[in-house]
């Protein structure tokens, strides 16, 4: 026999999305069904659900409409770079070729269509350059690729030759941070972190001097620890 669930006043308040004092008032007025036990009262879940339904109230459990695929706290640059990989001496003379060559090397999960991604990346460059200055560019697609969050990627490509990216400060680009984020919010967060880090001259120098993946990751990690959860 299924045990009948009893709810506390707090649980009822949360279920109906109302403050506890309102539930209390409804009890005193006799509006909401409850059971008395000594000096206190409690509610039977099935009575409350039936009452809410017959009064046209929508019961919501948990937050809807928020894509909690992963908590934004898990989206760090470090994780993204670890997922995406770091590549050195990347070949290419212009925007198109560096991006095209990069797509070949990136290991996309879930069998995504690479030519589609390439098109999206290029068309995004055409709207506005992703060169955010100081020799760094952040190519990304306009729409999310539908990557599940644990596969979000920030593949990093250090270029063999500097390439003109039409950056906002007109400096040629030496490193690409591809941003394949799971949501607009995550994208913004990663972006703002990178942009913040790039303002630090020391970070920029260390970035230019990176020779292998481990160096980059420890550099990023060390600096990212400065960010409290934001």
């Amino acid at each position: 026999m299924k045990k009948e669930l009893n709810l506390s006043i707090r649980e009822v308040a949360s279920l109906l999305q109302i403050p506890v004092v309102k539930v209390q008032r409804w009890v005193y007025q006799g509006q909401i069904p409850c059971k008395f036990k000594g000096n206190t009262y409690y509610f039977k879940e099935k009575d409350i659900l039936k009452w809410a339904k017959s009064h046209g109230m929508i019961i919501s459990r948990g937050v809807e409409g928020e894509k909690n695929i992963v908590s934004e706290n898990d989206c760090t640059l470090k994780k993204g770079i670890e997922n995406g990989g770091v590549f050195f001496d990347h070949k290419g003379d212009d925007i198109y070729s560096v991006i095209e060559n990069a797509i070949e090397k990136i290991d996309f999960p879930e069998k995504l269509d690479k030519s589609l991604i390439l098109n999206e990346l290029i068309s995004r460059e055409e709207i506005a350059s992703t060169g955010i200055g100081k020799g760094v560019a952040i190519p990304h697609t306009r729409r999310e690729l539908g990557l599940k969050c644990k596969h979000f990627m920030v593949p990093v490509f250090f270029l063999k030759n500097r390439v003109d990216f039409n950056s906002i400060d007109n400096q040629p680009v030496f490193v690409l941070f591809f941003m394949f984020s799971p949501s607009a919010k995550a994208h913004l967060k990663l972006l703002s972190r990178l942009s913040y880090l790039l303002r630090d001259k020391a970070f920029l120098d260390n970035l230019r001097n990176c020779r292998n993946k481990g160096e980059l990751i420890s550099l990023i990690d060390k600096n990212e620890k400065r960010f409290k959860s934001d």
Binding site: I58, S60, V63, E64, G65, E66, K67, R124, I127, A128, S129, T130, G131, I132, G133, I138, H140, R142, R143, I168, A184, K185, H187, L188, L191, S192, S195, Y196, L198
Partner: protein, 571 residues
């Protein structure tokens, strides 16, 4: 002549609304009174004509023919087949400003004449109600009145009809207020009362001042009071059986027989079979009620029980297969039979106890069945008092009426008039939350002072717009097609707009929200509020054909609701 008409119309329209209502009450009362009297007259005449067929075995075919002709007449001749009489009036009055078709003034009158005189088990009251209401509605329509007056006029017609057909003016008023209009307001009561009085006068002038059932002096003892309480339980069972049978048999006919012709023939055939064996069950059954009240009726408990069941079935077959008629009269028959049944039962179980007699229970039974089937307890009480000409039994009437209703309501939430409306969400009583909100439409709530941006706009170009707008939201449209894509919420991007490097490389499309429901301009406020509830948003966009029209904010809905409530309430 035309000018004279125009002058009359204009003068009338500009009269104080109370004077208008009085005039409407009188006019509607006269016409609805005539409608009732003519139906009664017609029924008497036709049943006299048919008397010679009684006992003839061929009578088994009569109901089938009658219902078939009714159905064909309603569908093809007068084309007023859809619509169920009283529920249609209730819906019109609560949601459609009281508009009713002109032809409804006569269609169901003729239909029920055909159905009832050929033996169909139904009453002439519901058809007369819709006729009266339609008369009232169209008088108001002719005068081009506003919604409120038209609704009052329709209600007056219904009141007049009931008042005239039973010679019961109070019942007419109470029925209209309790069932049709659902509210007791002074604006409504004036024309309703006038119409009721006028119609009763017409009825008395033409048919004489008689009450349908003779008055019998009854002494009510304490035993009877206790017995009445117990009676309510039995009565509730019969009432529930009646209501359920009506619903299910109708549903059964509609689901299993697609052709209305076959439905009519089958239903009528079944009725014919029943009335051959139980002739008591046919037609309105007032004769039966008369004998039950006067105490002349006599039969065994078992037969009574069978009669009750047969009457319920016959009525369900008659109405479910397309016959025209109402449930008032069958309620009276079932109620009085139940009373007699209970009295016999009591006398058998408690032979030593003195009860007042079967009449008291017959009367209480009628009130109880009426109250629970129509869910109109006051109508039940006052009708019985008026048609039997006495307050003697008021105590058991009160008890039985309210107790039976309470028990019935535990299981059947709505009356037979309301259940199909309620299921479709069409039952909205005046000045209820849902009713007030349903008046407000999306267009009234639309806020259009939002700035739209195209999807490829850089954040840096958005900043001067942020300065310009008083809003936190911006609508994003596709640069090429102009289609609505999403909303940019300033709160989301606040933290990023202060870094000059980022704003030059982020486009609006990358930071907009897309995961929310959209409102359609055709949505009613109840839908809109549901969308708000589900998404927990405070503002939602109105999008039509992929085009952004504006925003609706949850907070302004409260403001609109309060204004609407004030507009509809007088202090």
């Amino acid at each position: 002549m035309k000018e004279l008409k125009l002058i009359i119309k204009t003068t009338l329209k500009n009269l104080d609304y109370r004077a208008q209502l009085i005039i409407i009450g009188i006019v509607v009362g006269v016409f609805s009174g005539f409608a009732s009297v003519s139906l009664n007259f017609g029924l008497k005449k036709v049943s006299n004509f048919f008397i010679k067929f009684h006992g003839n075995f061929y009578f088994i075919l009569f109901p089938a023919m009658g219902i078939l002709i009714t159905v064909l007449f309603l569908k093809y001749v007068i084309r007023d087949f859809e619509g169920h009489g009283v529920p249609e009036v209730i819906h019109s009055v609560s949601m459609k400003g009281g508009f009713l078709k002109k032809r409804s003034s006569v269609s169901k009158l003729i239909g029920s004449l055909l159905t009832i005189s050929s033996g169909g088990s139904a009453g002439p009251e519901s058809p007369v109600i819709i006729s009266g209401a339609a008369i009232g509605s169209n008088v108001a329509k002719y005068l081009k009145t506003n919604d409120k007056i038209r609704i009052a006029a329709a209600g007056s017609g219904a009141a007049g009809a009931i008042a005239a057909i039973f010679n019961a003016p109070i019942a007419g008023i109470i029925f209209t207020m309790e069932v049709i209009l659902g509210e007791w307001s002074t604006l409504n009561m004036l024309p309703v009362a006038i119409s009721s009085v006028t119609a009763t006068i017409i009825s008395r002038m033409l048919s004489g001042n008689q009450i349908p059932f003779k008055h019998h002096l009854i002494n009510v003892s304490i035993n009877d009071i206790f017995a009445a309480a117990g009676f309510s339980v039995f009565l509730a069972a019969f009432a529930l059986f009646f209501v359920r049978a009506l619903k299910w048999i109708k549903l059964l006919f509609e689901k299993s027989i697609k052709s209305i012709i076959f439905r009519a023939i089958l239903g009528g055939g079944l009725v014919g079979v029943i009335i051959i064996f139980f002739p008591v069950v046919k037609g309105e059954g007032y004769e039966v009620v008369r004998t039950l009240i006067s105490g002349e009726f006599s039969n065994t408990i078992l037969i009574i029980f069978v009669l009750i069941v047969m009457k319920i079935l016959a009525t369900s077959f008659t109405l479910g297969s397309g016959g025209a008629g109402g449930v008032f009269a069958p309620c009276l028959v079932i109620g009085s039979l139940s009373g007699y049944f209970y009295f016999q039962l009591l006398s058998a179980i408690f032979p030593q106890v003195q009860f007042s007699g079967s009449t008291l229970f017959a009367l209480s039974g009628m009130a109880g069945i009426l109250s629970s089937t129509l869910q109109a307890p006051l109508t039940g009480i006052f009708l019985i008092v008026e048609i039997t000409g006495g307050y003697d039994v008021i105590l058991p009437l009160l008890l039985v009426s309210f107790l039976t209703l309470t028990i019935t309501k535990l299981i059947e939430k709505h009356s037979i008039y309301q259940y199909d409306l309620a299921e479709k969400g069409l039952l909205l009583r005046p000045r209820t939350d849902g009713r007030i909100l349903s008046d407000i439409n999306a267009e009234e709530l639309l806020e259009k002072d939002l700035i739209t941006v195209d999807s490829e706009m850089l954040l840096k170009d958005l900043i001067p717009l942020i300065k310009e707008s008083h809003r936190n939201y911006f609508a994003v449209e596709d640069k090429k097609t102009g289609k609505f894509l999403g909303m940019v919420n300033f709160n989301d991007i606040k933290s990023y707009i202060f870094s000059s490097d980022l704003i030059k490389s982020i486009i609006v499309e990358e930071v907009m929200e897309t995961d929310f429901p959209r409102i359609s301009i055709k949505d009613n406020v109840v839908n809109i509020l549901n969308k708000f509830d589900q998404s927990r948003a405070w503002s939602l966009p109105v999008v039509e054909d992929d085009k952004f029209l504006g925003l609706i904010s949850k907070s302004t809905i409260l403001d609109h609701y309060r204004k609407e409530l004030k507009a509809q309430t007088e202090y």
